[in-house]
Symmetry: C2
Subunit: 345 residues, 2 copies
């Protein structure tokens, strides 16, 4: 019996405000695994290659369930989308050498067997287009699906319309900017630094601003009214959007980042919905995946491989770095999709 | 030349809070009109029979325009839906003796000529079903259209779903209760007195409460979660609805009465939209009329005439009473559609 180290990054304490590296979550290098003999019970053993760090993970630290989000369990590894390389298998749909994608624990090796209890079952990735595997966690993964599927389902994009897209330098926002431009819209977007602001322009955004130095209200009063609002932030930005919406505007409520680590700011002008006949659509990508999955892989992923749609990754190495990356993603310090790289394969 | 008194009720002062009878609006009995010789300029002269007093009139007192609501003008008569009897006409589509319906000034006689500048052109009412003319201001008029058209457009009604309908004793709410019951839903509704609460039950509502003595939150925690929310009030009731919504719930934002006369309460839990994937639809009936008008007169109005769908009217007599009725409607003191009756015909 040969034991191999099986390091993991566990959820240690419910945070108040921002997650604290080394306290909210901690790295645990003590576990080990017998790769040759661990029982599979009809499932498969895989090695974790890459793990995604997404903004929404903060909400899974609060111990509140809803229909789609299961809170992290104290003392257990974090869970999020990742890429695995199958080492051994008793499951007919995954063979050794296959790359699998799905919700996996933050540890070096895992045995997966409980397929039905997963939001999205592990899927074998084909990657005909030859993208780096990690891209299937970002632009070709859940964030990319969020952008593409919700845009198709809810934006009612019309050439000449004005779109306002927050968190434009994030994976979701940067893809939405490009989808809006491909639909012939005027795009207003914002980010947290001058460097990121320039990145928004390079993606085609027509009006860009640094939200740490310029207010949304000031920009929208000049460049609005807006027909589509992609909301990643909530709070005062959402209020400014409500005050500068055109009749029949579509508000795609993707996230309210401003309230994840602090109290959600109350919205004082929601009554604007009525007079301007706004549709405000809250959504989670999981409800759209069944309807749009095929179209996503057929229409969108090839555009990433060809370079017609651009993406960025911000890759760090090793499970020890997870705590810092979690915080960076909440603070908007990362630039590109947050990826923890564990192993090549 | 014979002059006839042409009394009117004018907008006199922008209110802060509730409208004050005799100050916000005042009756002016001084004008007169020469019914035989007043020039028609291609239009027609009509005698006002009935005028509607609706909750939304309060928003037209604030001097804020949007795409569909034009504020009242100081010193000019109020304007709202009314029924007129045509006395003389140079307009081919309206003959003497016809009953017309549309937005008309609060005065005894008017000449209408500027058809194109009206939100909805004056229409000649046929009334094949023999309803009292005043009903075309309520259940068979704009409030009825609001209920029927928005319910058809946005509720996605499903048998067994739970609907929560505020202002259930108002014209709009009372009709929505009956539409929801016809679609096989469980209906929760509220009103401002015990007498009105019993009226909700008589319309078929399954769960009713007096919102002056019972909180929405308490009721919804017990009887929810809700699939459809018909919002006439906003504020804390909307917050309670957000906290007790089912996944994919539809919120029909018809009004936010609680903020019309006082500050709108900020909404503290709007982020619930995302996790519960709620669609919040702000609407004004004017945008739905073109699509649903024929269906409304064909499918819905006959149900009023046959008694299959019930309605109530609260009729007062004479333009002098307008100020009091405006206030009663804002305070929820009226019981049934607020109608000012001027003349039979």
């Amino acid at each position: 019996m040969t034991l191999t180290k099986n390091g993991r990054h566990i959820f240690n304490e419910v945070p108040h405000g921002y997650p604290i590296p080394g306290r909210t979550t901690i790295y645990d290098g003590s576990p080990s695994i017998d790769l040759d003999n661990v029982p599979l019970n009809g499932g498969f053993l895989f090695k974790t290659l890459d793990l995604a760090v997404d903004p929404y993970l903060r909400s899974m630290m609060d111990q509140v369930s809803n229909s789609h989000v299961t809170p992290f369990r104290l003392g257990e590894p974090l869970v999020n989308y990742g890429i695995g390389l199958v080492l051994r298998s008793e499951y007919s749909e995954a063979q050794p050498g296959d790359h699998v994608y799905g919700l996996i624990p933050f540890q070096e090796y895992s045995v997966l067997k409980d397929f039905e209890n997963q939001i999205e079952r592990m899927r074998v990735l084909k990657n005909d287009v030859g993208l780096p595997w990690s891209v299937y966690l970002g632009a070709a993964g859940m964030p990319g699906q969020t952008s593409y599927m919700a845009w198709k389902a809810y934006a009612k994009a019309k050439s000449g319309d004005v779109a306002f897209i927050t968190s434009g330098a994030g994976t979701v926002g940067s893809l939405v900017i490009q989808l809006a431009k491909r639909d012939g819209m005027k795009v207003i977007s914002c980010a947290s630094s001058e460097e990121k602001r320039q990145y928004l322009s390079s993606l085609g955004a027509d009006v860009t601003y640094n939200y740490r130095t310029t207010s949304a209200r000031e920009i929208l009063e000049k460049e609005g009214p807006i027909d589509v609002y992609w909301d990643n932030v909530g709070g005062e930005t959402l209020e400014a959007a409500l005050d500068n919406a055109s009749t029949g505007a579509r508000f795609l409520e993707s996230g309210m980042m401003s309230g994840y680590n602090e109290q959600h700011l109350p919205i004082r002008n929601l009554f604007k919905l009525i007079g301007m006949q706004i549709t405000m659509q809250g959504f989670l990508v999981w409800s759209l995946v069944d309807q749009y999955r095929d179209e996503f892989y057929r229409e969108f992923v090839p555009l990433l491989a060809s370079g017609d749609i651009k993406y960025r990754e911000d890759i760090t190495h090793g499970l020890e770095t997870v705590g810092e990356v979690l915080l960076d993603v909440q603070r908007g310090k990362n630039f590109g999709k947050g990826i923890i790289h564990l192993a090549d394969g």
